[in-house]
């Protein structure tokens, strides 16, 4: 919990990792990719305030002690949701697997939620693995990388028939939150890995599932917003938005937040700190202190109130994941509820001023 000026904020970090990019874990012959990947992350890391920067060697592999300090002791985080990222082509034991994440469950099981993953190209074996994972870890969510390579395949779409089978199975197993990585990616090649049209269709066909688009589709935030405004069960994952823009590019941070508040709305935006690309402390504190600038160019964007900050920082995600929130910290949010989509926007009848 974070307290500032008499207001208390329940913090759920809906997108975090615990990775091993150490040199010992690099696959022989693939070192340049393993290094290229973590260097890319390190570039993003350096968009945070200088005093929060780690040295590169340390950045390769945080320890459990780092994690505890950064998230729970200094980072104000009440609950963290782990997303898994495998990348076994370059990292021998995986970059950030369910098992690695789950090892931390033993220490902080009351504050951690580990999300699973599936890959529809793995067929029946993949389905059985998903069942086993849900049985073992009680997953309520999964993280999907539609652009990930798998053998000869260079990616898949949520609308592939095989994927629909997995989505149906996941729903049956009690999973309700589908985090989709649509953003800076690994191998798009000719496939448009940023294309969110498949989320649009899947969200319509699976009304009982919530679709959280991580990194809000950056660098294609416009495609994401045009889609999200029409789908009541599509959410904006703010990882990278806060970490990558709030300090480094404050003017664009304000504009992106303004656009999200307008198109998606404060009940459907989820804070994610993206540990350990960045630590959550400065992101949580910065977001609580943040206000839309007074300048004219921001004048018709919605304002962010204390209540909106509370919802974005934790209450929306808590509702999606049934995380218990102390009575005095609760606020109503329409997250996880079926609302009418923004019809006035879809049908060209916006109330917005020109």
């Amino acid at each position: 919990m974070y307290e500032k000026d008499g207001e208390k904020y329940f913090v759920v970090d809906s997108h975090s990792h615990f990775w091993d990019a150490s040199k010992e874990n690099w696959v022989e012959g693939k070192e340049q990719f393993a290094k290229g990947w973590i260097d890319c992350f390190y570039g993003y890391h350096q968009l945070g305030p200088p005093e929060t920067h780690w040295d590169w060697d340390h950045y390769l592999k945080p320890s459990p002690e780092d994690f505890e300090r950064d998230m729970f002791v200094e980072g104000h985080v009440d609950y963290a949701i782990f997303q898994s990222t495998y990348l076994k082509e370059w990292y021998k034991d995986g970059f950030n697997t369910v098992d690695q994440n789950a090892a931390l469950l033993e220490r902080w099981g009351d504050k951690l939620i580990v999300n699973g993953r599936f890959d529809p190209r793995e067929g029946d074996a993949g389905l059985r693995q998903l069942e086993a994972d849900v049985e073992k870890y009680k997953h309520k969510g999964v993280k999907l990388y539609t652009a990930e390579w798998n053998g000869a395949s260079r990616g898949y779409k949520l609308t592939d028939p095989e994927c629909y089978e997995f989505l149906a199975a996941a729903q049956e197993l009690g999973i309700k939150n589908i985090h989709v990585h649509k953003g800076p990616t690994i191998w798009p090649l000719d496939k448009d890995a940023f294309d969110v049209a498949d989320v649009d269709h899947a969200a319509t066909d699976f009304q009982g599932l919530n679709f959280i688009v991580e990194h809000v589709g950056l660098p294609r935030i416009e495609d994401f917003c045009f889609m999200a405004v029409q789908e009541p069960n599509v959410y904006a994952g703010l990882s990278v938005v806060v970490g990558g823009l709030m300090h480094a590019r404050p003017k664009f941070f304000a504009k992106v937040m303004g656009e999200l508040l307008f198109w998606v709305g404060e009940d459907k935006m989820l804070f994610g700190g993206d540990y350990n690309i960045w630590v959550p402390k400065w992101q949580v504190e910065g977001l609580v202190d943040w206000q839309m600038p007074d300048d004219d160019q921001f004048s018709d964007y919605p304002r962010l109130t204390t209540a909106s900050k509370k919802k974005i920082l934790g209450l929306n995600a808590a509702k999606l994941y049934d995380i218990p929130v102390p009575q005095e910290l609760q606020l109503p949010t329409s997250a996880d509820e079926t609302m009418a989509p923004g019809e006035e926007l879809v049908e060209d009848r916006a109330g917005a001023q020109a």
């Binding site: 290229g36 935030i221 480094a248 060209d348 916006a350």
Partner: protein, 230 residues
């Protein structure tokens, strides 16, 4: 006598990052450019990350090659991309004129024309926000905005860019064309103006945010500290 290095630089200035809609020279993507007395040109490009999308990267290297090779006086052009996960495929493919599909044999099945088209459409939408904004600030209402033609917009670099983008993808770009049009080229009706402008602004925010983040990443990637680590 012509100044060949300046001509080559000018040619590189016509090459755009397709997604950011900015010249690669302004984005600091041109790391080196040398011109020999006999007209042999060697250009080195660099990008913000090792994993920048290979399709966009390919377009920039191929466009840079075409632009430089077309400069009168250039006898040979070599354009290479450094520090990228697909440098070898891209550099080899561009040098061999084998196209994107040929360069990534077995990995890519479509050429990049559609991708280029998509980004030009996005740029043409964002440009409407840039050009319409001053009129909105002057207090023009939806009716007047819907009636505005390109002839009524003061001449500027931005207007010329908008015309170029529209021309390239078959959208109306002459003086009598409306400033505000839909993606299919049809006029935006007065009642649709407020939402249309919202969309155009969002498009612009998307492009400009990505460009700005790319600049930050390029700066830290090629910082002294990063070089010391490499």
């Amino acid at each position: 006598m012509s100044d060949l290095p300046a001509e080559v630089w000018r040619a590189l200035g016509t090459v755009l990052d397709p997604e950011l809609d900015e010249p690669i020279t302004d984005l600091d993507f041109v790391e080196s450019c040398t011109v020999s007395p006999s007209g042999e040109v060697s250009v080195g490009l660099r990008l913000p990350t090792f994993f920048c999308a290979p399709n966009f990267s390919f377009l920039m290297v191929a466009d840079a090659y075409d632009a430089v090779a077309a400069v009168p006086g250039v006898t040979r052009a070599l354009v290479t991309l450094a520090d990228h996960h697909a440098s070898d495929e891209i550099n080899g493919g561009v040098a061999a004129h084998s196209g994107f599909v040929g360069s990534f044999e077995g990995e890519a099945v479509a050429e990049l024309d559609e991708l280029r088209h998509t980004f030009l459409s996005k740029a043409a939408l964002a440009g409407q926000d840039r050009l319409a904004r001053p009129f909105v600030e002057e207090g023009l209402g939806p009716d007047d905005l819907a009636d505005l033609t390109l002839a009524e917009v003061p001449d500027s670099m931005e207007l010329r860019r908008l015309r170029d983008r529209r021309c390239a993808i078959g959208l109306p770009y002459t003086d009598d064309a409306p400033l505000l049009i839909h993606g299919d080229g049809t006029r935006v009706e007065a009642a649709q103006v407020p939402l249309h402008l919202r969309r155009a602004r969002l498009q612009r925010v998307g492009i400009e945010t990505t460009a700005s983040t790319g600049k930050s990443l390029l700066k830290v990637r090629y910082s002294e500290e990063a070089k010391a680590r490499a």
